[in-house]
Subunit: 469 residues, 2 copies
């Protein structure tokens, strides 16, 4: 009802105004400015960008344009931008800037972000970079790097707020206010919970800041702390950490060393990237791609994809060997050669459906030893249903095409057999691989295709050799 009295007050931009399309138009303008040699304009265009947008832009640009922009930015390069970059682009920029400048930038990052950045470098680069960094930062980062790769110790923030249980709310708030004024940074920049530790530095509870803020100064911390929390060992794998955060809807969890002492904290924002990475890894592996290689050089990408293709070539040759057994049959009834890929291909597709569900369910732990047999049984049933339906359809197609009832019946029978076997193999292979400690996302597809190709060709051509000749 009131008249607007703040019309000139700037309102923060809303998302609709800054969608991906806007970044794309900025990209095109930057490329135009660079093509025209108008460096001041290019600089003016990129200056207002958020560091994450700038990282995206640098990745999208051709290498030459990127180098010009990095040159332009010079010392103004936001250190946070560096940790948003993909590996190959980052290496390129580090090379251009030189280690000294990169070290200065990395020193400005929080320890967890700095570790995130440094752990991706090779050992020699790590050593050089750490040497170029200030003493105090180096020690913290070296401690973090001492934890195994992809562990909670690497993921955690080392700066945490820890207080004893016998304090009251007032003491806690005063402690926070006092330390905020001190020169050296004792408290983390942003935190959501305060950890309560016993005299041995072991976490015994936590207090969320919203709880602390809503409680009167005289109340004891021991009375408002939550004790029902998950404590994470520093050596825990990050995948396990991500699972826990997601399953329990955690926002923050204390990390302890082997003696159970609080050494850091993991917060949900660190875990988001892990969840994303782990999902991406699974998707890539199922597609036969070992790593995210959008930005690496064509030769490197070709090399990294070679192994997968070579393994698949061996699979294809095995399938061909099976066909080779029936050369004389095919010579007499060429229709078999025309129809045989249908059986193999349908088996592969049906098996992949089952495989995808099984690999996913293993990753999210929805598939366990308790229900494995039931899941396999259900998949075989699904395979039988669709096997029969597609047998009828395919037999009809074959009969209309070649007018041969026997071939129609044979392809129908082979279809049922292959779809049932595909369902069995698609659900069993990932479970077995997981038991053997092999990542089911990587290896399952090869085994599955071998099975569905061999069974597909063998059933169809074998039945044909038996009945037709």
């Amino acid at each position: 009802m009131a008249e607007p009295d703040d019309r000139l007050q700037p309102i923060p931009e809303t998302v609709a105004e800054t969608s991906g399309y806007e970044l794309e138009s900025v990209e095109h303008e930057v490329m135009e400015a660079l093509a025209a040699g108008d460096l001041p304009r290019a600089r003016a265009l990129i200056e207002p960008l958020h560091y994450a947008d700038l990282a995206d832009l640098l990745q999208h640009l051709p290498a030459d344009d990127r180098r010009v922009l990095v040159q332009l930015l010079g010392d103004d390069l936001d250190p946070d931008m560096l940790s948003e970059l993909d590996e190959s682009i980052r290496d390129d920029i580090i090379e251009q800037l030189g280690l000294a400048q990169v070290a200065a930038a990395v020193a400005e990052l929080d320890t967890d972000d700095a570790v995130d950045f440094i752990e991706e470098l090779d050992e020699e680069e790590q050593r050089q970079l750490l040497e170029a960094m200030p003493e105090s930062d180096r020690a913290l980062i070296e401690q973090a790097l001492a934890f195994p790769e992809d562990s909670a110790g690497r993921l955690m923030q080392r700066e945490v707020v820890r207080i004893p249980a016998f304090w009251d709310v007032g003491q806690t708030v005063d402690y926070l206010r006092q330390n905020a004024d001190r020169e050296e940074e004792v408290l983390p920049e942003i935190f959501y919970v305060i950890f309560v530790v016993d005299p041995h530095h072991r976490p015994v509870g936590q207090v969320s800041l919203s709880r602390l803020l809503r409680t009167r100064r005289t109340v004891k911390i021991a009375d408002i702390m939550e004790t029902d929390m998950k404590v994470i060992a520093a050596a825990t794998d990050q995948e396990e950490v991500a699972f826990l955060f997601r399953q329990r809807d955690l926002v923050s969890a204390p990390v302890v060393d082997e003696a159970g002492r609080l050494v850091g904290a993991i917060t949900i924002d660190d875990v988001v990237d892990v969840i994303h990475e782990e999902n991406e890894e699974d998707l890539m592996r199922m597609g036969g791609v070992s790593e995210d290689d959008l930005y690496s050089a064509a030769v490197d990408t070709a090399k990294s994809r070679f192994t997968w293709l070579f393994v698949n070539l061996c699979t294809a040759i095995i399938a061909s060997l099976v066909i080779g057994l029936f050369e004389s049959t095919i010579e007499q009834v060429v229709a078999l050669a025309v129809l045989m890929p249908i059986v193999a291909s349908m088996g592969g597709n049906a098996g992949t459906q089952t495989l995808t569900v099984a690999v996913r369910a293993l990753a999210t732990r929805e598939l366990s030893s308790t229900n494995a047999l039931r899941v396999i049984g259900k998949e075989v049933l699904v395979g039988s249903f669709n096997g029969v339906i597609f047998a009828v359809i395919t037999a009809l197609v074959a009969w209309l095409w070649f007018g041969n009832t026997e071939i129609a019946l044979i392809i129908g029978a082979a279809m049922v057999a292959n779809l049932v076997i595909a369902a069995f193999a698609g659900s069993t292979i990932p479970i077995l691989l997981e038991r053997l400690g092999v990542d089911p996302a990587i290896a399952s597809t090869v085994f599955l295709t071998t099975v569905t190709d061999v069974v597909g060709f063998l059933a169809f051509l074998g039945l044909a050799a038996w009945f037709l000749l």
Copy 2:
């Protein structure tokens, strides 16, 4: 140095103690107890479980065991558990409990969790459930349901803390403490930031609780608030929201209505599930599975997978039609029938690698109109490299096998052609589909396989017909 004076104080469990294996052993024990008819023991086993673990356990058990457990739990059923369940299991449990009991449970949830639960029901169930709920909860939930599905409005928490910019830290803290004592819940249970609004309820800034706690009481909110924040329109798609949180490392963002007024807040823990869902959806779609169907009945699963298989059957038939063109060629040189699946299969696999990278890069917006041509060019180059290498290997295999130089040269040439085309198709198809507004994760594979099969058979058999006969 101090002597342990708290040896008997319970230490919270660490993750190592509660890995997936422990839940599995509980599951086996529960199943044994149920099989032995020992209901008190089954109840004792599940009582201490976290609601998320209980949800997992219920999903892993056979339907009969699950119903017995739900019966056992009765009124003690944790409402939070309900929102952790998969669709088919949840429907089953709702049916067993009856709407009245479910409504009472849902009313205890936070609005965002309640909305999360209710939106999955069909319209009639929604109506009945809402009618069975207390008036005040119903209104809040109905408001949320008025926003489009998968929008920021559905995702957000409606309870937010909002203060004017002219307050100081002391006033803010007092406000929080006073409201904490009030009967009705004005403040959210847990929150991480406080939003600063202008007289029109438009967000102008935010203050993180850690900042608030570290600042003296006399400091003005206007002096410590961050104004550089992302404001999200309530109609924004959740995928866009997830992208933004991940790209910008956000922890909390205000949501506004069309007039720009603050109507709620989205926090990172809500977004974690969205990120997970979106990733899962992509993975499933690329595997030809329309939905997560681990728990649905075999008939339903078979039906849901039929469409994908049918589309693939059509693709396979097209490939067979191509082979059919060369029946007489195959009749004369049966070796062609033996070798032809190798060319098609390698094209399919190489194309899938490219496709996976492209689909992923589109989803994460690393692939944009700025770099699309460069990515396609690079993929074609990768296809050429591997095409030549695999042409040599395959030609060698064919020559050793059939001792025929011409066939060896022909399969080599066909391999190069198919791998180059596969790379081109694998990168172009998803980009085109995205431009057309079709989800590239769903449809790309079908188009790709059609291309690689047709080109594979056509190139190999065509060259053979040309040169051999």
